[in-house]
């Protein structure tokens, strides 16, 4: 006897028939469970939203007046015939994997995740399940992240050498998550940290919900290289090299992303410096997470799906590729508000 799967993949997004809800839907639906606030997961126009308490402030900031409920990590909630709970994904503050149980069968939709502790987001917690939906943005063995303190030292060294040469360091990073993570890695003793409006707005939301961030200065009209010599500026990637950035005078630009692992992309995108740091799991991180879940059935979405699924199938898992409206494979198409690579 075949029974209805706990989660199915529909044009609207991941759907749970037993609970009649969607996870990170792409189209307007009545009830949406949201893993995290990035724009390709948390979209406008849903009848109601359910997300972690920590994810909600940024979602409200981005989506405006929405009908939304918060839930604590680990708290169980019954929706129709399904029991759901949210568990830390380690991707950005408030991000979650969503566990769905129906009649003893457990599925986990992990959204975006990374397995190292960034000191800002609640660290990834493996959840045992039968079926695991994983991303594969960096699902190739060429991606291997260095420890965060090593990258922190690289960025601080670069900032110091810029300041010594009388230049402003302008660092491009996505405004939700990556930017704040980078701030906490900076050494505030080296100089002022200036933030572009898009980033400072997100900072304000996070500070209001009690997330500790270092002191930053909004880079408004009055702020320039003259008022804040030796500063580092954190800005969305699209602001690098823009008219706005000119006011910081002589400068070097850097870009912080997992894609910077590849020299070709670095030369294309990085400006003066590329720093390899990502809010997604690297190859080893993905495999570790999958093993920890003890799931036998893996659904691969976003990124190098075909290759990653083939590797899993060769190594004893039953893996299949799930089509997505967003091709996480791209390293160039994505801009600020979509995803944090």
């Amino acid at each position: 006897m075949t029974r209805t799967p706990v989660l199915t993949f529909t044009p609207e997004g991941i759907y749970c028939p037993a609970g009649d809800f969607y996870i990170d839907p792409w189209r307007r639906v009545a009830r949406a469970l949201i893993t995290h606030g990035h724009a390709d997961h948390s979209r406008w126009g849903m009848g109601s939203y359910l997300a972690t308490h920590d994810a909600l402030p940024v979602m409200r900031h981005r989506l405006g007046d929405i009908s939304a409920q918060g839930i604590a990590y680990g708290e169980q909630r019954v929706i129709g015939g399904a029991t759901v709970s949210f568990h830390p994904a380690g991707h950005v503050p408030g991000s979650a994997q969503i566990r769905v149980e129906v009649d003893g069968e457990v599925w986990v939709a992990s959204g975006d995740y990374k397995v190292i502790d960034d000191g800002l987001s609640p660290p990834f917690e493996p959840v045992r399940c039968h079926h695991f939906i994983t991303e594969s943005t960096f699902g190739l063995p060429v991606f291997r992240w260095e420890a965060q303190d090593i990258v922190a030292r690289q960025i601080n060294d670069w900032w110091r050498s810029c300041a010594a040469a009388g230049k402003t360091a302008v660092l491009g990073a996505y405004s939700l998550g990556k930017a704040q993570r980078l701030m906490t890695m900076l050494d505030p003793a080296q100089g002022p940290i200036l933030c572009h409006t898009a980033i400072e707005n997100t900072n304000a939301v996070m500070r209001a919900q009690g997330i500790a961030l270092p002191d930053t200065v909004l880079a408004n009209k009055e702020v320039s290289a003259k008022t804040h010599p030796g500063a580092i500026v954190i800005a969305p990637p699209s602001a690098l090299g823009s008219v706005w950035a000119k006011k910081f005078g002589p400068q070097e630009s850097g870009f912080a992303s997992g894609w910077m692992a590849m020299r070709g992309v670095r030369r294309r995108r990085a400006g003066d410096r590329g720093f390899v740091i990502s809010d997604h799991a690297d190859w080893a991180g993905l495999l570790w997470a999958i093993k920890q879940t003890e799931a036998e059935n893996i659904y691969v979405t976003h990124g190098y799906t075909d290759i990653f699924a083939r590797y899993l199938n060769d190594n004893g898992w039953s893996a299949q590729v799930v089509p997505t409206q967003f091709e996480g494979e791209s390293m160039d198409a994505k801009e600020d508000t979509t995803d944090a690579a």
Partner: protein
Amino acid sequence: MKAFADLFNAIDQSTKTTIKVNALADYFKAADDIDKLWTIALFSGRRPKRAVTTTRLREWGAEVAGIPLWLFEECYPVVGDLAETIALVLPPNQTTDNKSLSQWINALRDVYKASDEEKKTFVLDAWARLGGTERFIFNKLITGGMRVGVSQKLMTRALARATARDEAELAHRLMGNWHPDETTWHALIEAEDASADASRPYPFYLAYALEDGPEALAPLSDWRAEWKWDGIRGQLILRGGAHYVWSRGEELMTDRFPELARAVDYLPDGTVLDGELLVWHAGAPHPASFNTLQPRIGRKTVPKKLLAQAPVVLHAYDLLEWHGTDMRAQPFAQRRAILEDACANLPADAPVKLSPQLAFDTAADLHAYRDDARAAHAEGLMLKRGDSPYLAGRKKGDWWKWKLAPLTIDAVMIYAQAGSGRRANLFTDYTFAVRDGDALVPFTKAYSGLTDKEFREITAWVRKNTLQRFGPVRQVTPHHVFEIAFEGIQASPRHKSGVALRFPRMLRWRRDKPLAEANTLEDLNEMLRIYG
């Protein structure tokens, strides 16, 4: 290796010329002679002998990384560089290493004749010692092609600064047939030049494109005009009873053009000519197309039949050395007068001919020549100032190339393929088709002409509009129309469409044009009739 890796990173990370030149000059001041010599060699495209095949390197890389070979092969096109792919998949290095660049190169040379097993031990040991950029460079020493964003010009400038020597003189010293295994830093850079290699060419003087008309070049009486030929720029050297032929790409091509050997019968020893290698049949009014020259370039030795089918003649337009004296500082008019005298009595079947100057009085005369250029099988005009010395490299002011407006056709993109290196993972290489009734007939590929932003936009579109994959090639929905510019068109049985284009590139993305307004096969054939 660490010092060289730091230099490589400094150059690779920056887009700014001053930073690159400073980094190079600092390195040249501090490094050992043998490391400096190898650095110049690597950055000018010279390389150590390949000690290990890339097939073995892939297998060992996958093995050490603990991944199946198919997975490694999937990674390669994503990264776009074999040496880098291996460097990335390997586990982090366990120890560190103090060997210099040249010591590593020598170590590689020492295993050249070793067994596969010994080579493997050596390579695996190197991978365990070297991390990051050093590991990447080690792999590059084996796979070749150390491409880094530094031109010969910048390297020469840095070298001039570090050694306090004249830049043009250094440029000349770096030309030609040297290899670090056969020379020293002192011999190459510092030694008195008397014993210089007889085959050493002069650096070519390269013209910039003239964007506006010749009206800007007042007074016109200061200027000389010639056809700009569509062949291979070459330098013919007659020294010590021998002859040498160099291409502009600094490739020694003497054996490819045996007909030039007879030049020693007609011109004195100690002569160096700058000119164009062209296929020109005896008695023909103009040269044959570039296409006919192509088989001659590809072959190291030339079969008799091909020699008869595609005879090559050097059309000389400048004289760089005469009776062993460097003439480059003399005014062009004077060099040219000697050249004309030297060529005056050449027999009709000599392999060298004088490339004529075009008489003119007014800018209108020059416009008229340019309008006729296609009929003369030239690709435009060269305009040279009569009193100009022969400079080294691309310099503005005294020489201009004034090319024909290109031919253009509106074509439909039907296949896309990712580029490599800087363009890895970006769809930049496209195949274009013209319409033929309801069918689409592919007729050319093009890679350049769009901005990075446009390439990104098309890449995102290609991912969503792929109909079929053939390995790395994606067939896409025929939708986007591009204006393709090209310099010439030839009948070609090797191409499905029956034509081959010269220098095709994308002039612009015609977002305004629907598929139905792209040109047809009939239009293409019409162009072939007129311009072929």
